[in-house]
Symmetry: C2
Subunit: 516 residues, 2 copies
């Protein structure tokens, strides 16, 4: 794909064909500029095999907004649509519709509310609310879901790795295992979710983070092939990077060759007045090897060098390594807390692919259509009531209990204000038997979550820095109940509807069901 | 990320930082233009939980070649590297190295051999062989792996779905669940692997395939919110797309509402002289519902309309649906073969993410360094002998038995020619106990697999069309033993080394191990 092809494939045609066939139908029916509301939300947390997440971290908004601001139907795009034919060879799209698309086929009419990136988010809560003319709100669906699903998936996975790695450095290494250039979106989301740096140079440059990395096995192999060995390779590296010497020690044999050679080079460095940075382990039993490495480095007088671990790490493997170190290090004479403090984790495949659950099932559902001055709620019945979206124009609030812990996300009708309610009745979104009541005295804060990002296509939102998103994520994670944020079998966080909204949803379901 | 940021993030800096730190070391040591060979290969087939693949389908080469032909270190890239500092605030990269990169930092010196896209491929076989100056061959690693790993992963998954869907139409629907713009790479690979069309409009345009799609639930919801119903929505759709009417029937209730309404609209269409295309089912028990749909459509006089199935389909779900239809359709008076012939499958999430195994572990390993006129084989010892790459400059052959079935992929030294060997001794790449001998009389064909794609950076390869890749894939799959291509618990295909190559590898391992 050359540059011009890439512009085509990543522009407004980065969508599903049915969006455009529906668009023409709306145009033909005179509904194309009908004001509508779509909610974007996901229905369940990622479930990585045996360990379902208890929260997600929202991400992807800024790149979606940038895409929306330049995407439009160009003359070439229109020509392409004009050439599409159906079964009988007749054109699928008519000239009047194509003329409308050429003139109005952009996102200038869209108003959008969204929960900011870096915020902790939960199922069934509208993360993004799109208001605007039916055609363009509909065409937006595919790209919106693409931009938000993946980055939220990865920010969530990174937040879990951040949690299990505790205060250790967390490095994103996934560029070779991502989906093409999607690896850049993954690296960005990883930073939002809790990775400290990425090895990906280009995205580091764009986001203003210093890229991280030292050397690979191939460097040692080159020296070996030329009749030298690991020690010469390490020496050469230490000469060039005296201030930043971190050596990969598992090309030949970690304990017999790599670490002894690294120590020898570190000693040379120190004689020359430099302090070595550390070593990286990329294979074998990382818990055992890091204890042995710490022991050898301690004995040689390098107790503060870093030990970077990599090789198919994820939140559970990191947790297991730390547990094993706590259990085993003492009998080797290594102080576990000291060892853990010097660890860093490089995470590649299992972060960039969200190993165990490689997609977030975010959806984009019509929830209201404006008829004259009134928003008419829209509904879709599904095989299970848990999948039926909550209709209508809504607001989203986070309710904190007296301890300052987030206790529920609350969906209300647009005109409802939970701040003025003497008590709040929280209804489960689909299970009518589940309901609880919160008195204002039990509440320390009620926070609106949606912010206006686009007003008729115009950006009205100060895009936060990645650093601000990271701070927000940490703040939100800290305000979760520890049971909700634990890695295995988490408590279920409450997402609730007010009495009025619950009744609206229920009445609509009953009335539609009665008609069939 | 705006356009100029995207160009940066997708250019030559789309790599890992350690490639550039190693590059400077090679420069400093005077090794930067040393001629080297890297092999790209994967070590094991994707293992989707309980069903490991028995073969892969190669893909991604063309996009890699396009990337390589434009990627280079621009002035801005160099300025960025110049600004990188280490722990002590000193610049990481020196001016002489940056000047070399500015002048020579492109892939003009690279010669590349590769197995064409669409070919069936196996573990431990070099799929891509890169020869060129050490610095640039090294910097290429991350992007090469990114481009080839993902598309091969998806072409493989698509080939499995193609296999279980047999002759039914297979449609790629994954744009909303891919990793950002990586979804385009996924759609391309899906076409190579066996999807017939994609819903993704932009990539369809670039690749010259007509995009596919009809309508979503939201269309029906709009009509309902405006006081009309599913029937009115279907009528409107049929009016606009009389020649191409395919209706999604599960917005309200598939059997009670959707199919009866569709039939009523189909009857109107027929009265007007049009034949309807069919229906789509997107929820519920798809096997049961497709039998009921077939029964209702048959009874109404529409026995040839398509029934498109979608909703989390993968190769096993498709297989299960077809099995259930074969078992259950007769007792509903539906002829299974006739029903199966009218089915089409829309595959989204589970194709674009390669559900069950979302990454292919392709690696890129130094295998030889040229010293004077001689290629010196390079080796990397690992914790397991199965992970030790096969060293040296090699050739790759596919050996077909008397039936014309592929029986082994054979790696030889560059100077070996299996066509002239009276018999071929096939050694397992790592298990010394496994060995078999093939006589020429047992062999119908020995086919070289690698073709030259780049000669000193110049494209010397006629890029095949997607259609040609699809034909090649089908041909290769047909020439696999049925046991190798079955979906569950496949036979192991043999990848073998010649006696000479086996001895080279073994001697090198022993000599390096002896030195530690």
């Amino acid at each position: 794909m050359d540059d011009s092809q890439q512009r085509i494939a990543e522009g407004i045609l980065f969508t599903d064909m049915y969006q455009i066939t529906m668009a023409q139908l709306y145009f033909r029916m005179g509904l194309h500029e009908k004001d509508v509301l779509f909610d974007h939300f996901f229905r369940s947390y990622p479930d990585y095999g045996h360990h379902k997440a208890g929260y997600c971290v929202n991400a992807g908004l800024e790149w979606l907004l940038t895409w929306m601001q330049s995407a439009h139907f160009s003359t070439e795009d229109i020509d392409y649509l004009r050439a599409q034919t159906g079964r009988t060879g007749k054109p699928i799209f008519d000239e009047d519709f194509l003329a409308w698309l050429a003139a109005h086929g952009n996102f200038d009419g869209i108003t959008m509310y969204a929960i900011p990136e870096g915020r902790v988010v939960h199922p069934h809560v509208p993360l993004t609310v799109v208001q605007g003319p039916l055609i363009m709100a509909q065409i937006l669906e595919s790209s919106l879901l693409n931009h938000l699903n993946y980055q939220t998936l990865i920010a969530t996975k990174a937040a879990r790795m951040r949690q299990s790695a505790r205060s250790s450095l967390l490095l994103e290494f996934g560029v070779r295992r991502g989906q093409g250039m999607g690896a850049n979106a993954g690296a960005r989301a990883a930073l939002i979710g809790g990775a400290d740096f990425t090895s990906n140079v280009g995205i580091s440059r764009v986001l203003g983070y210093p890229p991280q990395g030292t050397h690979a096995h191939s460097m040692v192999q080159v020296f070996m092939a030329l009749g030298m060995g690991e020690l010469e390779a390490f020496r050469a590296y230490a000469d060039v990077y005296s201030d930043n010497c971190l050596l990969l020690v598992d090309t030949i044999d970690t304990l017999k060759s790599g670490i002894p050679n690294a120590i020898s080079v570190f000693e040379d460095l120190r004689r020359k007045g430099y302090e070595p940075v550390g070593i990286r382990l990329d294979s074998g039993d990382l818990a055992y090897l890091s204890i042995q490495a710490a022991r050898m480095l301690d004995d040689a007088g390098f107790p503060d060098t870093s030990i970077v671990l990599s090789n198919n790490l994820d939140e559970l493997v990191i947790w297991q390594i730390l547990t094993q170190i706590r259990d085993e290090a003492p009998r080797w004479g290594v102080e576990p807390d000291h060892l853990i403090k010097r660890l860093a984790f490089g995470v590649g495949t299992r972060l960039v692919t969200s190993w165990g659950e490689p997609a977030l099932g975010g959806v984009y559902k019509l929830v209201a259509v404006r008829d004259a001055d009134r928003w008419v709620p829209a509904i879709k019945l599904s095989e299970s009531s848990a999948k039926t979206p909550t209709p209508g124009q809504k607001r989203v609030w986070r309710v904190y209990d007296r301890r300052g812990t987030a206790t529920a996300d609350l969906l209300t009708l647009e005109e409802e204000d939970p701040l003025t309610m003497p008590e709040i009745v929280l209804h489960h979104p689909s299970d009518h038997t589940k309901c609880r009541t919160l008195k204002q005295v039990d509440i320390s804060e009620i926070e609106p979550l949606l912010v206006k990002t686009l007003d008729q296509g115009r950006l009205v939102y100060d895009l936060p820095s990645i650093e601000a998103m990271r701070d927000q994520r940490q703040l939100d994670v800290d305000r979760l109940d520890p049971g909700v944020r634990r890695l295995l079998n988490p408590h279920i966080y409450h997402v609730s509807l007010t009495e009025t909204l619950w009744k609206l949803k229920n009445d609509l379901i009953v009335s539609v069901a009665a008609r069939t």
